[in-house]
């Protein structure tokens, strides 16, 4: 990799058209050829016999090509939403939390719902990177980079909400254990404080993991930019009046970000070790962060929150929702980016669909267990929460749950819709996987809404029962975070290597010592 031929560089500038198809003879009955049932045959993880070179060209091409029309459209929309969301947040900060629909019966509603929702989304990335890495699941290589990016952005969105939902944002620093003359420390008994530590740790480690994984790939981008600068004196400039060439800018920025990576064996050796270590560190974090988020509820005394099943249930739910979000993002990319189907095969999608099926069923089991325990405990308050706050619709009983639709939306989205994946036809169809992922994402939002709002709105004393109604600010703030998330992801697709090139190359047949070429 040390020497780059100028032709190759020029070739690389025309990604998409250049890598010629070198089709493998694959059985067409097995989808794109990766859905092989025969245990003796290893399904290819990269299609069309891509060479190392092809892979580099494809992945770097996504960055180096001019943005496509759809990219500009989506990024434009997302940034608009992000702007609206930001305005809503500024309005909230200026005016008060009262612009949301929260009240003294339901003191948390969309704010914490969104927080837990985004934190849950943020699970798949690190799970794919760390746990699947440790488990030597090779198929993770083509999705891990995007999933990690998604994690980072989701955690950013998640972190926004605890930050802005407090009454006095300007004193939020009090949650950090900053030594002070008053000798007042945060309350280490409070799960909200654990949250602060858990989420910030998770974010830090995930970001490090993500960034470290990108170093070799960014070095590739740097080298390609440098190569092009050396090979040709012309090339696109940043702006007509600015003589600065884009490749010069790339060389600087990627050069800075790649931390002097030289692809030396020593670097690789250190890299591999560090990667493994971070994977090891991240693994417990994947489990801990959502467990701790679940403590926000589990350690309380509120029926519907006070549940020992919450930590595993939340982790399963987070993986469930996270994978759905990965699919939600990658399936359109796969369609819109040239050649991406070679890297993300149907087998990848099927694997993820299977995880959705498994975790969805785990979540369903958890829902069922909540009912069982509510009945088994003999605690009237606990049973009432499930029966009268969630399940029984108002049209069936005057006493019924006004939020019954939320509960049933959750059940149908999270428990029923993934059951489609028992059928191979559905779990090997990108279209159906996309649909189900979309439904699951909605369902997971409702899950948090159901847990938070329906438990709070009818708690111990019926005299203090009340409803929560979202205001336009509630809605636009959430939509705004969707925009922020999407916009960040679009930037990622455009400016950072969306695939871990070195790792993908590792799992191609060429990389195998047994390869006959």
């Amino acid at each position: 990799m040390s020497a780059i031929h100028p032709d190759e560089i020029n070739a690389g500038r025309l990604t998409g058209a250049i890598p010629t198809d070198r089709p493998q003879p694959l059985d067409e009955r097995t989808g794109d050829g990766t859905l092989i049932d025969d245990p003796a045959v290893r399904a290819p993880l990269v299609l069309n016999n891509r060479s190392f070179h092809d892979i580099t060209n494809m992945v770097c091409g996504y960055v180096e090509e001019k943005p496509a029309g759809w990219w500009l459209a989506v990024a434009g929309l997302a940034s608009t939403l992000a702007g609206v969301g930001t305005l809503m947040i500024i309005y909230l900060l200026i005016t008060g939390v009262g612009v949301w629909g929260l009240n003294n019966r339901v003191d948390w509603a969309w704010d914490i719902t969104n927080f837990v929702f985004w934190i849950g989304i943020g699970h798949a990335g690190t799970l794919i990177s760390a746990i699947l890495c440790l488990l030597k699941q090779k198929w993770r290589t083509s999705i891990n980079r995007a999933a990690e990016a998604m994690t980072i952005f989701a955690v950013i969105c998640a972190g926004t909400f605890p930050g802005i939902h407090v009454g006095r944002v300007w004193f939020i620093w009090m949650v950090f254990p900053i030594p002070n003359a008053n000798g007042i420390w945060p309350n280490f008994k409070s799960p909200l404080l654990w949250d602060v530590f858990a989420v910030s740790t998770y974010f830090t480690v995930s970001a490090l993991f993500w960034y470290m994984g990108m170093i070799p790939d960014m070095a590739t981008l740097r080298d390609r930019a440098v190569g092009r600068l050396k090979a040709s004196s012309s090339g696109p400039t940043v702006a007509p009046f600015l003589k600065l060439r884009v490749d010069q800018l790339r060389a600087w920025i990627y050069g800075f970000l790649s931390l002097g990576w030289r692809f030396s064996s020593r670097h690789w050796q250190h890299y591999e070790k560090a990667y493994l270590l971070l994977a090891g560190v991240s693994t417990p974090l994947v489990l801990s962060v959502h467990s701790i988020v679940s403590f926000d509820f589990a350690t309380s005394i509120l029926p519907g929150w006070h549940t020992t099943i919450f930590p595993p249930y939340f982790v399963a739910g987070a993986i469930f929702g996270g994978f759905a979000m990965v699919l939600l993002l990658m399936i359109p990319c796969r369609e819109l980016y040239p050649n991406m189907k070679d890297l993300i095969t149907l087998r990848h999608l099927e694997n993820m669909a299977k995880i959705i099926l498994v975790t969805g069923s785990m979540v369903g089991f958890a829902y069922a267990m909540e009912f069982f325990i509510a009945w088994y405990s003999g605690n009237k308050y606990e049973a009432d929460v499930f029966q009268w706050n969630r399940v029984v619709p108002t049209w069936l009983s005057a006493r019924g749950a006004p939020y019954w639709w939320a509960y049933w939306a959750m059940i149908s989205c999270n428990v029923i819709s993934p059951q489609l994946f028992w059928f191979r036809r559905f779990r090997t169809s990108a279209f159906w996987i996309f649909i189900v992922s979309f439904i699951v994402t909605i369902g997971m939002w409702f899950e948090r809404f159901v847990i938070i709002v329906t438990s709070l709105h009818r708690a111990f004393l019926p005299g203090q029962w009340g409803m929560f109604f979202p205001t336009p600010v509630d809605i636009l703030t959430f939509v705004g975070t969707v925009g922020i998330f999407l916009f960040l992801f679009m930037l990622f697709l455009k400016f950072l290597p969306a695939f871990a090139m070195s790792e993908i190359k590792n799992v191609t047949p060429q990389a195998s010592p047994h390869e006959h070429h």
Binding site: N104, I184, S190, G463
Partner: protein, 1215 residues
């Protein structure tokens, strides 16, 4: 405020020799111009100063900073010399600052108390103690020396202080009827004085022909004297004392019975059986405070040997009294009269006439059901039972016709009640006169063009006159309309002279309460806006000049000739009176005898016409804002109606059936906007709009309406609240409290939907043991028995009576895994907290940790504060809510914010309805439960706060540290009692009415209703400046984003502690004697349902009334009472505030089968709704357990196996 704490009652006050302010030469910067007014009045610099500094000019006042204002107000008090004679206003009027030479008794930062009294709507009078900070009155409390108040006060009295600081008050006199510019010009009182000299001078020559006065109804010697003066000067003038809510039938009834108008003074503390025919003597009643106390004194049996009174209620609305009744029948007003007649017949009173009426009822649509007949028969038996003579009372309410009132007087005489449970006092001429008839005379004269000058004082007939008088139009026919009013109103809008009326706390006067206590009204503060009192204005009308028309002298002169105040005695008696807030208590008047003939005749002339769906009965009463004078009072507007919990509105209560018949079903409780359909109510050619609302317990074909809302010309707060119902009350042929033959239809034009906002949407307890209540027989039978069985795991239970009524008798004993750091003890049996008997309360566990070090928070050292709320005594009146609001600077949030569920009251009164027992005679179906922060020892809020903003104090108080709070609201989520209140906006600091930037735009999304109570920011600026003056300086004002809640009035505890130290009284930090101070809610509670004190104080002997001695604090005693239980006790949060189960006392002969079951086995019915429905199948099994289940059988072998895991964990924990 305790007796001891009050200057006015510490020891006997020697008569302080009057300090002549005029002669004091006080040096300020060496200069000597601070003399008395009369000395210095001519000095130009003094005049200059006077103009600049004296708060006579409202606009200036508003511009002045708070600090300046404090200075001024402080000055005005100090000047009055009041501080040198606490509890009494010095008669001087001059103002000098106490920035130097502070009177020795005045300690800046320390409150001083003064006695006064206040007249409230409906003829109520309350004696008050006013807490004053540097000259600013901040809080009103009942005067313990006043026999009517007895240290208690109503919500209205508590809230009246807010009206003092109302920025909408009239500021300057105005004279209108001229050019537009001239109309707007502020006039001075000199202008009015000059004008009136001239105008009334002319009238004097004509003996007052063409002059008419409408004044508010008031029992006041000074006012009566003033009336005589007016009458003497203008013999031809018309004088009408007017109370828009007065029912003439009450007066007429007593005239029929006694030959002269008499008013009843109830001694309910002596009554064993009370029968009320639609008389809400605990709520909408002039003697509500007195009656509540008397009634409650027999509602809370502390031992199983104590007796109780029994209340039978037949009513057409659902009142506080009805909610407390042991038997209640809901009936249209006409029907009630027939029941009264049936009772009279059974008692043999006016028998033939009564029989005729009872017969009428029996004939008409079966209203007299078999059940009612039985009710009447048993009621009569109960009244005549042995030993009951003189211990019963029969009452008629204002909706009832005069004949029923007369009949009740007759029955009382026959039952020996007169002179025992009910006394009578002669009414004054003004009191007895008919308001509506008087107003009609004036309206007729106006229309005939006979009145040239109309003087309205403290009344608002243009708003509240009956619709057929068209008074607002008639008024315009008088050439000069002179109106004295505190705030803008409909009458002043139509007047030529607008005169600002001084608030009670700014004026001199006197009052006579219902029971005949004469009390002074004395100013606490110089009039904020240069207003004048009614006496002063009347004196000016009688020809006094501005100087001479001086309230102080006017009142003083009247009292100089009163018995006991004559001659040399006067000064002493006068000072004593001002000090105590009581001038005299009238002699008991002789019991008048009842003339049976007229009673029978009146009854004979009465005919029963049953209500039907096209001829509905209307019943009128007063709601939170009284007769309308408190319409601009935000506290009262936001005080939930005790029964409906509706705020900022008066609704027309109808029964579910009626609502259905007219298609008026309201939106479900889960609806965002909660619309109700507007109806038109027409009667006698008059029509009003109203917002119907259904609650249980209202009879069919009856509409219950509340006065005082729907004001048009009112301040910013009262604008757009509710609907005016006055136009259809008091029409010809009906009384102000009752009208028959009304039609209702859905409104066809204008606003058709109307948003009604409540603080409580859900009225059922859902079978949870929240409010616990049993019948007296069950209490007597089981009250002393404790449940000491083993639970199913073999752990010892120890549950007292009330605890057995709830979940604890079904749940295993709570075993804690952890050592409570505050106790050094594993909290064991959940019931322990209430076992303080023999001084061995659970607050006496080791105070050292394992290493022997003292714990930072040690619950074993006193005082450990706790509260007991007696659900038996609580009448739901909500005075506690307002008292707390006044004490703790709690903001008002407005209708829209309440609709979102953001009201801020620290103590609320939850109201529950139970089951279907609203029909029939067993209707013990409404329950009240005051809930504030209960200060849990294992407080769930404390563990979850990430920043330690809510922590436990060494005295068991759960502190809320506002400075530390960042507003995560987790505490509120984890609070099972939902008592925490979050400042979603800057309610307290800037935007007092829940407004925020962009609110209107926000509200318009989804086409929601506008927030009528939204105060534009520009005006709010003004509002705040003046409203701040009423704030309690000892309580922080909370900013946006901060959680707040009850703190057990910590400021009062600390004040008491300082007092003890300063006075070197016995006691120290460990010990503040019980009753030395009271918390705000306790202080206000008219029925004494709230008790606060040291739970560790179990040994000190305290003398009690009747020469008895009580050992330990009241709170500790009550906490140990078997009626005490911890709300949601099974959560093991260990609340310090415990509730005491209510007891009702139904007539055993009228008890239904279902209720008898509850009496026989009260322990399987949490709440009052058949309890744990799902656990009925267990009932049989439990029964055995409670009866005599041998302890060694507690282990069910099957259970032992299934629960082996639990057993194991117990073993591991060493439990």
């Amino acid at each position: 405020m305790s007796l001891d704490q009050c200057h006015s009652t510490v020891g006997e006050l020697a008569v302080v020799k009057p300090r002549s302010v005029a002669n004091d030469q006080i040096g300020v910067d060496g200069r000597k111009y601070w003399r008395g007014l009369e000395d210095a009045a001519d000095a130009p610099e003094f005049r200059d100063w006077l103009e600049k500094e004296l708060p006579t000019d409202a606009s200036r006042l508003l511009e002045s900073s708070r600090r300046t204002f404090l200075k001024l107000m402080g000055a005005s008090v100090a000047l009055a010399g009041a501080a040198t004679l606490p509890g009494c206003r010095r008669p001087d009027h001059k103002i000098y600052p106490y920035s130097k030479n502070v009177p020795e008794d005045v300690i800046p930062g320390r409150s001083i108390y003064f006695a006064t009294s206040i007249a409230l709507p409906g003829g109520a009078v309350e004696g008050l103690l006013v807490e004053s900070h540097e000259g600013r009155p901040t809080k009103l409390e009942g005067n313990p020396l006043h026999a009517g108040s007895n240290g208690k006060s109503s919500a209205m009295a508590q809230a009246s202080i807010l009206s003092l600081y109302d920025p909408d008050r009239l500021k300057d006199p105005r004279f209108t009827g001229l050019s537009k510019e001239e109309n707007e010009k502020p006039r001075s009182w000199q202008d009015f004085s000059a004008w009136s000299m001239q105008h009334f001078g002319t009238l004097k020559d004509t003996q007052g022909a063409g002059l008419a006065f409408i004044v508010d109804k008031k029992r006041s010697p000074s006012r009566d004297a003033m009336k005589q003066r007016v009458k003497a000067m203008y013999p031809k003038a018309m004088w009408v004392a007017y109370d828009p809510t007065q029912s003439d039938d009450v007066v007429k009834g007593s005239e029929i019975a006694f030959g002269k108008p008499m008013r009843e003074v109830l001694h309910l503390d002596k009554a064993d059986v009370i029968v009320s025919f639609d008389r809400d003597f605990l709520g909408d009643d002039a003697a509500m405070i007195r009656n509540s106390r008397g009634f409650a004194s027999k509602r809370s049996p502390l031992t199983t040997k104590d007796g109780m009174n029994r209340l039978y209620m037949v009513e057409s609305s659902l009142s506080l009294t009805g909610a407390k009744a042991d038997h209640r029948i809901a009936m249209a007003p006409g029907g009630i009269a027939t029941v009264a007649a049936a009772l009279a017949s059974a008692l043999g009173v006016a028998k033939s006439a009564a029989d005729r009426i009872a017969g009428q009822m029996a004939g008409a649509a079966g209203e007299m059901s078999a059940e009612t007949s039985k009710f009447v028969a048993e009621l009569a038996k109960d009244l005549k039972a042995e030993g009951r003579t003189g211990k019963v009372v029969v009452l008629a309410g204002p909706s009832q016709p005069a004949a029923v009132h007369a009949l009740c007087h007759s029955m009382n005489a026959a039952l020996g009640a007169g002179g025992n449970t009910v006394h009578y006092r002669a009414m004054s001429e003004d009191e007895a006169s008919s308001s509506v008839a008087g107003l009609k005379t004036i309206a007729d004269a106006l229309n005939a063009g006979k009145i040239g000058t109309l003087v309205c004082i403290g009344v608002n007939p243009a708003y509240d006159a009956p619709g057929d008088l068209k008074f607002a139009d008639a008024m315009g026919k008088a050439a000069q309309r002179i109106t004295l009013a505190a705030e803008p109103d409909e009458t002043i809008e139509r007047s030529t002279w607008h005169l600002p009326l001084a608030h009670t706390l700014e004026s001199w006067g006197d009052l006579e309460s219902v029971e005949g206590v004469f009390s002074p009204v004395q100013p606490m503060i110089a009039p904020l806006y240069g207003a004048k009192s009614e006496l002063e204005v009347l004196a000016m009308i009688c020809g006094d000049d501005l100087e001479k028309a001086d309230g102080y002298e006017l009142v003083r002169n009247v009292w100089k000739s009163r018995p006991g105040f004559t001659g040399a005695n006067f000064e002493k008696a006068w000072r004593r009176g001002l000090n105590d807030g009581v001038f005299a208590t009238a002699e008991k008047s002789a019991q008048p005898s009842v003339n049976d003939g007229p009673v029978a005749a009146a009854l004979g002339a009465w005919t029963y016409s049953p209500a039907s769906s096209d001829k509905m009965d209307l019943v009128f009463g007063m709601g939170a804002i009284g007769d309308g004078r408190f319409s601009n009072n935000a506290w009262l507007n936001e005080l939930p109606d005790p029964i409906t919990k509706v705020v900022w509105d008066n609704v027309a209560l109808v029964s579910e059936n009626t609502a259905k018949k007219f298609g008026l079903e309201q939106d479900p409780e889960t609806d965002k906007k909660r619309y109700t359909k507007v109806i038109d109510i027409s009667v006698g050619g008059q029509m009003i709009k109203a917002a119907p609302w259904t609650i249980p317990g209202i009879p069919d074909n009856t509409v219950v309406l509340r006065f005082g809302y729907g004001r048009v010309n009112v301040g910013l707060v009262g604008e757009g609240t509710g609907h005016n119902v006055y136009p259809i009350s008091g029409l010809v042929g009906s009384s102000r409290r009752f009208a028959a033959g009304a039609k209702i239809v859905r409104a066809t034009e204008g606003e058709r939907d109307y948003q009604v906002v409540t603080t409580q949407h859900h009225g059922s307890m859902e079978g949870r043991a929240i409010v616990r209540e049993v019948d007296l027989l069950a209490w007597q039978k089981f009250g002393d028995a404790r449940d000491t069985n083993l639970d199913s795991y073999g752990n010892q239970r120890d549950l007292a009576f009330a605890e057995r009524l709830g979940e604890l008798s079904h749940t295993p004993v709570n075993i804690n895994a952890y050592v409570n750091p505050q106790r050094g003890h594993k909290d064991g049996g959940v019931a322990k907290g209430t076992q303080a008997e023999n001084g061995s309360s659970s607050y006496q566990y080791g105070s050292k940790d394992a290493s022997g070090a003292s714990r930072p928070v040690d619950f074993t050292k006193g005082p450990q504060w706790g509260m007991s709320i007696d659900l038996g005594s609580c009448t739901g009146c909500s005075a506690c809510t307002i008292a707390c609001q006044a004490e703790n600077n709690i903001p008002v949030v407005g209708k829209i914010e309440v609709n979102k569920g953001r009201e801020m009251h620290w103590i609320r009164v939850d109201r529950y309805f139970a089951g279907d027992s609203f029909t029939g005679i067993n209707a013990s179906s409404v329950f009240f439960q005051p809930v504030a922060c209960v200060h849990c020892e294992n407080a769930p809020c404390e563990t979850v706060c990430p920043v330690n903003a809510t922590v436990h104090g060494p005295e068991g108080i759960n502190y809320m540290v506002y400075n530390r709070c960042i507003g995560t609201r987790y505490c509120a989520n984890n609070c099972p009692y939902k008592v925490r209140r979050f400042n979603f906006f800057d309610y307290g600091v800037k935007k007092i009415n829940g407004a925020y930037i962009g609110q209107e735009a926000m509200e318009s999304v989804g086409a929601g209703p506008k927030n009528h109570n939204l105060i534009p920011p520009r005006l709010r600026e003004r509002l705040d400046e003046i409203t701040k003056l009423g704030m309690n300086p000892n309580v922080t004002i909370r900013s946006r984003g901060v959680m707040e809640k009850c703190n057990y009035c910590m400021q009062r505890i600390n004040e008491a502690r300082i007092e003890i130290k300063l006075k070197n009284l016995p006691g120290d930090r460990e010990k503040i004697p019980d009753g030395f101070f009271q918390v705000a809610c306790q202080q206000a509670c008219p029925s004494d349902a709230i008790t606060f004190g040291d739970l560790l104080d179990t040994k000190t002997p305290y003398p009690e009334a009747g020469g008895k001695t009580r050992t330990g604090s009241r709170a500790a005693n009550l906490a140990a009472n078997p009626r005490s239980y911890m709300l949601l006790g099974y959560l093991n949060a260990r609340p310090r505030t415990t509730h005491m189960a209510g007891i009702r006392n139904p007539n055993p002969a009228l008890v239904s089968e279902a209720r008898q079951k509850l009496i026989d086995d009260p322990f399987h019915h949490g709440g009052h709704e058949g309890g744990h429905e799902s656990e009925h199948e267990h009932a049989a099994e439990h029964k055995g357990e409670h009866a005599a289940r041998p302890a060694n059988n507690a282990f069910d072998p099957a259970k032992t196996i299934t629960d082996s895991g639990y057993k194991l964990s117990l073993a591991v924990l060493g439990a």
